[in-house]
Symmetry: C2
Subunit: 299 residues, 2 copies
């Protein structure tokens, strides 16, 4: 992993596009459901790096396309990520009171509203892509199918299940698999969906190369996440440090120690950059920046 002093440049111009698009989104037509929209927007607009949608825009750029042409798909990724955070934070799950320095959705609006805000964000994510994302219908179907797949039982939800059930036996393979499902699949889908939308999956598509990069990026993201839970500051994380340890979770750090995890992160960082160089031989400045950012982030 790069030294923490060598902080990576983040493609802020893409983040700003995402942020503006998200801020403009409205969901509830019914006046009586405005309170639900309020809870959804409270969590959606809590800031953050918007890694998933920025990754999607950067992928479009690497393919030589206009990033703004996939803003609905990119925004949907953030809606889905927000939904997963709201449900993960619930008392019955990780029971976290703070998220990005603010009370979590259920603390602020009640548990019932938080469950529904998550449910609503997930539904509106699909509606947004299906309603507002231009593209070839057959390719769009493939992209949305990947979105559902990456967030279902063999993706995000399945990973969260394994996590809360603490069914993780010792061993690198299973640990890696848990995080591939819980976090990696959606990080990966942020790249893959754009490929599917813009190039389909037929011969000539660069999907396999980008898929390799995306998978490695998901792993890198999770290793760094585990390291930050131990080394980060409460302020930077926006939540109390050491949450994993308190929940008795098996992480890359509990498994390999801090130094071991750092070595794995460095290796994963190199692998991701190598995979990216193969996927985009002509260079992909923003994707390189995001990769370096994920490796060196402090929150």
């Amino acid at each position: 992993m790069s030294a923490p002093t060598a902080r990576a440049v983040y493609p802020e111009h893409l983040r700003e596009q995402v942020e503006a698009y998200l801020a403009d989104l409205r969901f509830a037509e019914e006046p009586a459901a405005q309170g639900l929209e309020e809870a959804m927007r409270y969590s959606l607009l809590a800031g953050g790096k918007r890694i998933r949608p920025v990754l999607a825009l950067a992928t479009a750029k690497a393919l030589g396309k206009d990033p703004s042409s996939i803003l609905p798909l990119a925004a949907a990724l953030e809606l889905i990520h927000t939904y997963s955070l709201i449900h993960d934070d619930l008392p019955a799950m990780d029971d976290d009171d703070l998220r990005r320095g603010r009370p979590t959705c259920h603390v602020k609006f009640g548990e019932d509203v938080a469950i529904l805000a998550g449910d609503g964000l997930y539904a509106e994510a699909f509606k947004l892509v299906l309603h507002a994302q231009p593209g070839d219908p057959a390719n769009l179907l493939k992209a949305v199918c990947e979105l559902a797949s990456a967030t279902g039982v063999n993706g995000m939800v399945g990973g969260q299940y394994i996590d809360v059930q603490a069914l993780v036996p010792q061993g690198a393979a299973t640990l890696r698999r848990l995080h591939e499902l819980k976090t990696g699949r959606l990080i990966g889908a942020s790249v893959e969906c754009v490929l599917l939308l813009m190039e389909g999956s037929d011969e000539g598509s660069r999907l396999p190369q980008f898929r390799h990069f995306a998978a490695e990026l998901g792993v890198l993201f999770q290793i760094v996440d585990d390291i930050l839970d131990v080394t980060g500051t409460d302020d930077a994380l926006g939540k109390p440090r050491g949450s994993d340890e308190r929940h008795g979770k098996v992480t890359y750090v509990t498994q390999y120690g801090l130094d071991g995890a750092r070595e794995m992160a460095a290796e994963s960082h190199r692998n991701a950059r190598a995979a990216l160089a193969q996927a985009a031989p002509g260079g992909a400045a923003e994707l390189e920046q995001i990769t370096d950012f994920i490796a060196t982030r402090t929150s």
Copy 2:
């Protein structure tokens, strides 16, 4: 409403097709996520009339198509309905312990697993349609968009929000609207999605006529639901009667009295049959049966 003695015939042959298809569904590829699949299938395979998928198959038949050609879409409707029941039953929502005579999902598997089982069913519903439902890609996109729309903030989730917030002021219009969102939109979508898939929404499609029928059917369903919560037996309902009253809910019965609600159901039944006659002038035996069944059901 027809006299309770004149019980309607239900298109059991369609229900059996749905049941067999649902029983064959598997979700988890990962061994460690099998417990999540178990919870999903526990709730999914708890029986019931399968009104939404049967409605979808009957609509296909009314359009002169092979009902079995839309089984993935039909099954997705039941996955979504099951997800909504699991989340509605949670302690933070309606806090119900019994459903169809069995412990609810969170009583049997724990609250965390129940939340994830609902989330998982919703994701897998989208994946099922997008992955397995044949059809013209542009029409399929429209159908899935309606599915997301009918179950989002301006549909099922929004209706449930208004319901748990008890934001219902007095008045027929708002009461009707709440139930249109919470229950009616998905009942309606069971008809509309099939039209969108098979005929699109262009000129010449019978979508408007069927949409009118579907909306009225949703209203009829809810009025009868409210009546049954007062007049049904615990055994037939599979849960304690009077749940609405205990939760202080405004229903058609609290609003108009039992006789008033029965008159409204009778009128809604007539309207639905009239709308169906306009949509399918050549007759639609199974849709007529389902309409009569919904009007006269006892559970």
